[in-house]
């Protein structure tokens, strides 16, 4: 029994050990996760603790420097990574769940169902997302805040984050649905699908056993495009006053704040470089690991 578990474990971790880059990438992801979850608790600075000395450059006291309020950037990045990962993961989850499902179902049934499902996607595209976010926040924020306060009495700021994650997920799946549909349109006419249909396989079997594995590549790639897009959308909403509440921050809001450092008069570049570096590192690692996963699990000879 134990042996089998090890075997499974070995099989599952193989892609992560495959080559050096992938190992590094998975290491980065793991470290980022640990950093985001554990570091804020053991840092000597609280993420919202202000200090008399503003804009300290990176140095022994503040490893990555500090901002206008004298807040330590390192610990702020840790907290921000947590929120960004949460936002990105939710966007990815919804894209994966609704987006992929929508595209698969639409094209598999084809005809009228396909047409209407895709027109529905077109409709959602055109409805301005900022309006939806504003309305959701306006109508539900205080109610959710009251509920959440019962659950987490110490952190009353979570209502907006929760709703935001919900909304961002809700608008992140549309392009995924289109892309999956386009790909399935081509796949479903290929010999191996035709064959399995001829053999009398049911819709579910064809969708999930035959089509889905062949889509893993494009799904993973588009996920690696969705995650940063969702994270940046979140920062954009924050700039409009519809995002998370300060002093909370996400990598996106830190970068958006840091963007003002790109000016010809005085650049405090650490405020931009470190958050952007953190985001790029995490995204690169995600993409790399996604690639490796897909190499490991994708069926090789599909047309046979």
């Amino acid at each position: 029994m134990r042996e089998r578990i090890f075997q499974h474990l070995a099989a599952w971790t193989r892609p992560f050990r495959g080559d050096r880059t992938t190992t590094v990438a998975s290491g980065i992801l793991l470290a980022a996760l640990l950093f985001a979850v554990v570091f804020p608790a053991c840092s000597s600075f609280a993420p919202d603790a202000t200090d008399a000395e503003a804009f300290s450059p990176p140095g022994p006291r503040h490893l990555l420097g500090s901002d206008l309020h004298g807040r330590d950037l390192l610990v702020r990045i840790a907290v921000a990574t947590r929120i960004s990962l949460l936002v990105g993961a939710s966007g990815a989850a919804v894209s994966l769940g609704i987006g992929v499902g929508w595209g698969l179902v639409a094209v598999y049934f084809g005809g009228k169902i396909d047409a209407w499902m895709m027109r529905f996607v077109d409709l959602l595209y055109a409805l301005p997302s900022v309006v939806l976010v504003l309305l959701v926040l306006n109508f539900f924020e205080s109610a959710v805040a009251t509920r959440l306060q019962g659950v987490f009495p110490d952190s009353p700021d979570q209502a907006r984050l929760f709703l935001l994650v919900l909304c961002l997920g809700g608008i992140s799946w549309l392009t995924m649905a289109r892309i999956i549909r386009g790909q399935v349109l081509s796949l479903k006419e290929r010999p191996f699908i035709l064959a399995s249909r001829a053999l009398g396989a049911g819709a579910g079997r064809i969708l999930f056993l035959h089509l889905l594995p062949n889509l893993s590549g494009i799904i993973l790639v588009y996920l690696t495009l969705t995650v940063p897009a969702v994270m940046l959308q979140e920062s954009f909403l924050s700039v409009l006053g519809l995002g998370i509440r300060p002093p909370q921050a996400s990598l996106g809001t830190l970068i958006a704040d840091g963007a003002s450092q790109l000016n010809p008069v005085r650049m405090r570049l650490w405020l931009l470089a470190f958050p952007a570096g953190a985001l790029a590192g995490v995204l690169w690692a995600l993409g790399r690991v996604g690639d490796a996963l897909r190499e490991a699990f994708e069926p090789r000879d599909r047309d046979v």
């Binding site: 084809g110 055109a126 409805l127 109508f139 495009l225």
Partner: protein, 305 residues
């Protein structure tokens, strides 16, 4: 052909749904177009202002009034820019955003597709690694970072190009790059994926076995099939590009349509918001139709496009 006609027939229907949905949803948002930080001179003045734009009528009357305008393609006066109609503003700004968007799309495809294809052909080797790295950088450097960097370097430091404003061809270059490179990164990822997919299929293997050069394989056979993901993505991407980008237009002070997508909402400029949603919807449907047709022409097996 029949399918295309059916799709075209749906365009006004969906546009109407978008306009109607927008009309009623917007009214739920707090605040109105004429709210300011200082109170109006009197309640009567405020009432007169609302009456001037028929905002005092019951909602269904307002809706019917707007509907009449929509049918004729008239979206009414802007509630924010009170000396202009919505059509007036769009007529000024759409050509600007259109040129900017087309050029950016050129950059996105012109750079993204070759780079992506190249990466797929050298999959796992250094060109691929480099292309992937650049793509990740491109994806996480949003235009609000890339734009200022370009301006600092080429606009101020080297002073080769104007840092902002619109009017001559020099003005186009920086905003087009700021807008296009982000999409180029995304297009390259999708092309690489599509190309990898195609290169593994049997007909390419056959072609290779026949001794065809890799370049010829790509040009003749692989490129078409590999563009499937890009084609599916092109519809929404072009719709986004052609209607303008808030960030780039704001940054380069370009009189385009993109800024209104955000500002009309912040200003509660209802007619402007509805016009933009309808415009976007019509454009998106047209482009998605085009992108679906492209899917069909790229892959003869696709039937239900």
């Amino acid at each position: 052909m029949n399918g295309i006609l059916k799709r075209l027939a749906l365009v006004p229907l969906l546009a109407w749904l978008v306009a109607t949905g927008g009309f009623f949803l917007l009214r739920l948002a707090p605040g109105g177009p004429f709210d300011r930080d200082r109170a109006p001179a009197s309640a009567e003045v405020e009432a007169a202002l609302r009456a001037k734009y028929h905002l005092d009528e019951p909602l269904h009357r307002q809706y019917l009034r707007c509907l009449g305008g929509w049918v004729l393609g008239d979206f009414g006066p802007s509630l924010k820019y009170r000396n202009h109609t919505v059509n007036d503003i769009l007529a000024q700004s759409l050509p600007v955003s259109g040129v900017l968007g087309l050029l950016a799309a050129g950059v996105a495809f012109g750079i993204g597709i070759p780079v992506g294809a190249w990466g797929a052909l050298r999959r796992g080797r250094w060109p691929d690694r480099l292309a992937s790295m650049l793509a990740v950088v491109g994806i996480c450097i949003p235009s609000f970072i890339l734009g200022p960097i370009l301006v600092l370097v080429f606009g101020l430091q080297l002073a080769w190009l104007p840092p902002a404003l619109w009017g001559s061809w020099e003005n186009c270059i920086l905003p087009v790059l700021a807008l296009g490179l982000y999409f180029a990164a995304r297009v390259s990822r999708l092309t690489r994926e599509g190309m990898t997919d195609v290169l593994r299929s049997p007909f390419v293997r056959t072609a290779r076995a026949k001794g065809l050069s890799p370049g010829a394989i790509v040009r003749r056979h692989a490129l078409r099939g590999s563009l499937l993901p890009v084609a599916a993505y092109a519809g929404p991407m072009l719709a986004d590009l052609l209607t303008g980008s808030f960030i780039v237009e704001n940054l380069f002070q370009i009189p385009g349509t993109g800024v209104f997508f955000v500002n009309s909402f912040l200003n509660r400029d209802y007619p402007m918001m509805i016009a933009l949603a309808v415009l976007y919807s019509v454009l998106l449907q047209a482009l998605n139709l085009g992108s679906d047709l492209a899917l069909r022409s790229l892959d003869p097996r696709v039937r239900h496009a």
